[in-house]
Homo-oligomer: 342 residues x 2
Amino acid sequence: MARKATIRDVSVAADVSVTTVSRYLNGSIRLPAETIRRIDDAVKDLRYTPNPLARSLSRGKSETIGLVIPEIANPFFARLAAAVEATAAERGYGVLLCVTLNNIDREIDYIRRIESKHVDGVLFSTNHPDDGRLLTALRDVPCFVLVDEDITGADVPGVFAENRGGALEATRHIIDAGHRKIAMLSGPKKLLSAEERRLGFLDAIREAGPGHDAVAVLDCAYTVEAGEAAAEDLLQRHPETTAVFTGSDELFLGMLKTFRRKGVRIGDDISVITCDDVEPLALFEPAITALRQDLPQMGRKALDLLISTIARTPVPERQILVPMELVKRESVRAPRRRARLR
Amino acid sequence: MARKATIRDVSVAADVSVTTVSRYLNGSIRLPAETIRRIDDAVKDLRYTPNPLARSLSRGKSETIGLVIPEIANPFFARLAAAVEATAAERGYGVLLCVTLNNIDREIDYIRRIESKHVDGVLFSTNHPDDGRLLTALRDVPCFVLVDEDITGADVPGVFAENRGGALEATRHIIDAGHRKIAMLSGPKKLLSAEERRLGFLDAIREAGPGHDAVAVLDCAYTVEAGEAAAEDLLQRHPETTAVFTGSDELFLGMLKTFRRKGVRIGDDISVITCDDVEPLALFEPAITALRQDLPQMGRKALDLLISTIARTPVPERQILVPMELVKRESVRAPRRRARLR
DNA sequence: CTGAAAGCGCTTACAG
DNA sequence: CTGAAAGCGCTTACAG
């Protein structure tokens, strides 16, 4: 491949200045038809495409955002990424995929990419509680938007699910089906989603009045393994449980493994609602009722919030709450009389 | 936030030339301890971080690759992306996420990013047959590596699954269980994965000899809807079928929906193997046997192949085939006597 | 060994 | 309205 054509080559071929070519290409000038033709021809002949790096350097912005997430193989973040990428493409932004595995050094490294002008801003999602270092790294960082989880003490723009309200609604649904001994496999302590949902869960139990118990609220990592272990624990120590609310699809999947092993049947023996709805829950038997996160909305709103922040456009609200949706399927049924697990 | 520090600020503060700072920071110089200290201090005081855009512009490379895929919400590509990103991060490369939705204009647009120096190279995965435009766009494009699917006629480096051998093995497994009337819900016509697996499937049937039939080989898009429709068709027109081999998890999921609706039970009524194994197939009942793609390997090898191509390092083989793995679970059983679906 | 200067390929304030 | 020139923030061949 020959040397790549530059704007200079075009200007020479079209017999105008580079200034004119640049302005024309950026639409900030009106030109005689004849000149336009000459430039267009030169562009075509030379197969000219502008160098975005050079443009970014002069303009001082890269038209790229960093999407910082713990994992991409996880369907939750994959769907979030899909929404973010789609919206970014619409708005003319590129997306740099930054996977952290919840490693705080990497997280901080990616935040620095804002200052170094590598990206115009960052959409940030973390899955672990901050030990303070994140908060420090965030000091004076502009163009930073949180998604899904909060960073304690950080007063930055963000988009979150209406976790508490969602959990309240989900738990009410369980209670309405007649359950009185309900457990929750919650997420990690100190994580916004887990804390808020726990509150919503307890709201519903309290609201239901005497005779309704939160038999157990187990904090666990959002992983299949944690769900498996927590479910064992639950079965052993609280056999009176008739319904469980799990904080993520992974937790549900882990719990399911334990249930299978122990011969506990969802629907018949125990009712279940899980959060997220990113796995093919409708195809399980019975189909699993879920508290769905509106990831398309969250991704879109977060990206738009970030773009407004970059452009310094005032926004109506800096923290946006996106409603969750209770998708009723078949995993919540009336409890059996004198139910006893195992 | 104050004006961002540049290498010039550092050089002034440390009382050396920018040349020296640049060389020191890039490790291409040995300096007296005293000078080192001054530079380090200046960097720290000014919170200096190099501007990667400027560096890329002068070096002529961006240390970024484009990952071009049809979707990211799809777990198959999400896992591929995870492997690619992880390897890229190890190698010091950034990943620009480019989702095409199989839109050929977008695909071509992203390929152009190589020439414009936006990215050093592209890892490309497409899900639809080329109409020739892709092949044209690829002319003279360096630093381009294919993953998973081929582009007809393009003699470019690539990493693919050993589709034919994998399908052969999977189908043998079905035949060994005693099945004689076997169907395949294959992928789209003219797609490498689909064609190769179809061949492997037919290899196995032929090898099994008389009495063994490929009752139907249906071409369908890799979607849940296509699987649903194809399964209807199959049940109606080929009720003698006792086993099915599906070309993707989506196809399997779609087929499962139809089976549910029609009361066809996997394992008991019909045996199943599916390709990919990216959905939680182990948690279905019965657990679904799958021909797994080794996505971690594929992503890693593809990224390394791309980096070698960028660096013009000679590689032992330009087209790499990654073995598939047959994960035997519980969805393949002996056929029932005189089996008749419906 | 060190540094002044040119260059990477654009954009844009400024002067004509 | 047009264009020469400076500037974006680096790297590196070249001269001292």
